[in-house]
Amino acid sequence: MTRHIAVVSAGLSSPSSTRILADQLASAVEARLFERGEDVRLHVIELREHARALADNLLTGFPSGALAQALQTVADADAVIAVTPVFSASYSGLFKTFFDVLEPGALEGKPVLMGATAGTARHSLVLDHALRPLFSYLKATPVPTGVFAASEDFGSNAGGRLAARVDRAAAELVALLDGPSARADVPPARKLQGSTEFDPDAAGFLSFDKLRG
């Protein structure tokens, strides 16, 4: 079977250290899955390309073309690798906006590997004070090890080897792919594409009897 991994990178420059970390995480996950004889498809989503569409979505309430596809890719993926640069002590606004417009329920029970980059290691707790609560709220399953990379990590091993942390996180993500889905047997609150809401035969459909209570 083919595992679909969505790789969301909120880096802004090219090349960006955020994208480099995202690629390292993706490669590590891919390598572990290959080892087990599984096919992998990586779907890389550079949020920079959707910056304008994300702002439009906030105003109109719906995603336009390529952004709609990107959101669907994330919703359909078996797992997500999400990496953001640290801006003002948290994830970037662009990163947050993407997850703001994702349909509620889209990440439910989905393993998420979190990564963040910054100019200084003093931001490293951003993974646990900003990203982890975000993904917990979205009912995703964030892996225990998030990977933080400061500028120094790309040039030395002083803070412990980045590659080792990447590999550990990748192993944890792959292990979660095997586990029972954490997705509860409840309908997503509101999900437009491919949702049970428009399918009267689906368990989650709110028929008039249920509406009337």
Partner: protein, 379 residues
């Protein structure tokens, strides 16, 4: 096929000349617009209900609609929408039945939830109860128009003991009800359950979404035994700005679009036009795009356009109405073309009376003592 307009009554600064109408001007312009609708041969005029600036649409639409009905001959007056969540269904039953008498049946009503949180607490309600309020309140409204004496108990208003809503519906036939929604499949389900009309806002969201909503409504309409799916009663919103020359339309409308209260400062006019029903262009382009709505919702019953929004001056709005009037025969011919005979027209009072086997007066007479009401100690 009914074709008409609806207004949200926004008092918005004109971004081109910098002026903003007064409430008096906006209200009078709205009546002018409704009369213009009849003059150019439209079938329906619908007003929003609002309770806050920047809107000058009525808090109780029957006030405006009675005035319009009094100044027109054929026009059907309606709403877009009446708030079924924050209004007392008892008052809705009374006021809209009264409007039905005043207008000789030239009315119907579209129920909606309203979409902003702050409004709910002004009326002692909570937006989190939006759907349950819409379900319970309409259930009561439905009964009040069909049962002379109602004893009722629910969650959101005080119980009723032997209550009679007056006046009784004209000719014994309740007003036709549409349920309007932008994105709630629950409302499509509700409309289907009762066999009422379903009106998809359509103008703010992509066609693919409207298609899903209407398909669900049609499917459930059939499920509940009101007819075949393609016989369900569907209405759509729409939006245009026309000039003879399409480039002139784009040039003139762009400054209004760019700062529009709803989608301004966001997508370009071109992007939004390609994603939604908005047409900015020549009458021919308007005609083609409007007739293409049927490609994804099927043959339908009512098309309402928003024309007087985003600060457009009344002079321009009336010019838009003239252009709509000129293309109207083509639009009607287009809708009629290939429309199968078994597709129903939009329900009118006359047709509903006929279907009910003719008119009968439904007045509930009370004797003189009862008319003064019971004393508290009698209860």
């Amino acid at each position: 096929m009914q074709i008409g307009i609806f207004t949200v009554g926004d008092v918005t600064p004109d971004p081109v000349n910098g002026t903003t109408p007064t409430e008096y001007e906006k209200i009078k312009n709205t009546i002018t617009l409704a009369k213009k609708a009849e003059e150019i041969g439209l079938d329906v005029f619908a007003t929003a209900e609002h309770h806050n600036p920047p809107f000058a649409s009525p808090a109780n639409p029957p006030i405006l609609l009675s005035a319009i009905a009094a100044q027109t001959e054929k026009l059907i007056v309606s709403t877009a929408t009446t708030l079924i969540t924050t209004n007392d269904p008892v008052r809705l039953a009374e006021d809209y039945a009264y409007l039905q008498h005043v207008s000789d049946g030239r009315m119907d009503v579209m129920l909606g939830r309203g979409n902003t949180g702050p409004v709910y607490p002004w009326f002692g309600k909570d937006i989190r109860d939006g759907i349950p309020l819409a379900i319970e309140n309409y259930d009561l409204l439905h009964r009040l128009w069909r049962e002379d004496v109602v004893t009722w108990e629910g969650k959101y208003r005080t119980p009723l003991q032997g209550f009679t809503s007056t006046p009784r519906p004209l000719d014994g036939v309740p007003p036709f009800v549409w349920h309007g929604s932008i994105r709630s499949p629950e409302i499509a389900e509700q409309a289907a359950y009762y066999g009422n009309g379903f009106f998809a806002n359509h103008i703010f969201w992509p066609a693919s979404h409207t298609e899903q909503m209407v398909r669900l409504y049609r499917q459930r309409f059939e499920h509940y035994g009101h007819g075949d799916a393609d016989q369900a009663i569907v209405g759509l919103g729409g939006q245009f700005f026309m000039r003879k020359n399409s480039q002139d339309a784009v040039k003139e409308y762009r400054p209004y679009f760019d700062v529009s209260p709803v989608y301004g400062h966001g997508p370009s006019l071109e992007d939004f036009s390609s994603q939604t029903p908005l047409t900015v262009g020549s009458p021919q382009q308007f005609l083609e795009k409007t007739l293409s709505f049927r490609d994804y919702v099927g043959d339908y019953q009512r098309q309402l356009f928003l024309v007087d929004h985003s600060g457009l001056p009344i002079k321009t709005v009336l010019e838009q109405m003239d252009l709509l009037g000129e293309i109207l025969p083509d639009l009607r011919a287009g809708y009629a073309e290939g429309r199968p005979a078994h597709i129903p027209d939009a329900p009118t009072h006359g047709a509903r009376v006929a279907a009910a086997g003719g008119a009968h007066d439904a007045t509930v007479y009370a004797d003189a003592d009862a008319a003064t009401g019971h004393r508290a100690e009698d209860a």
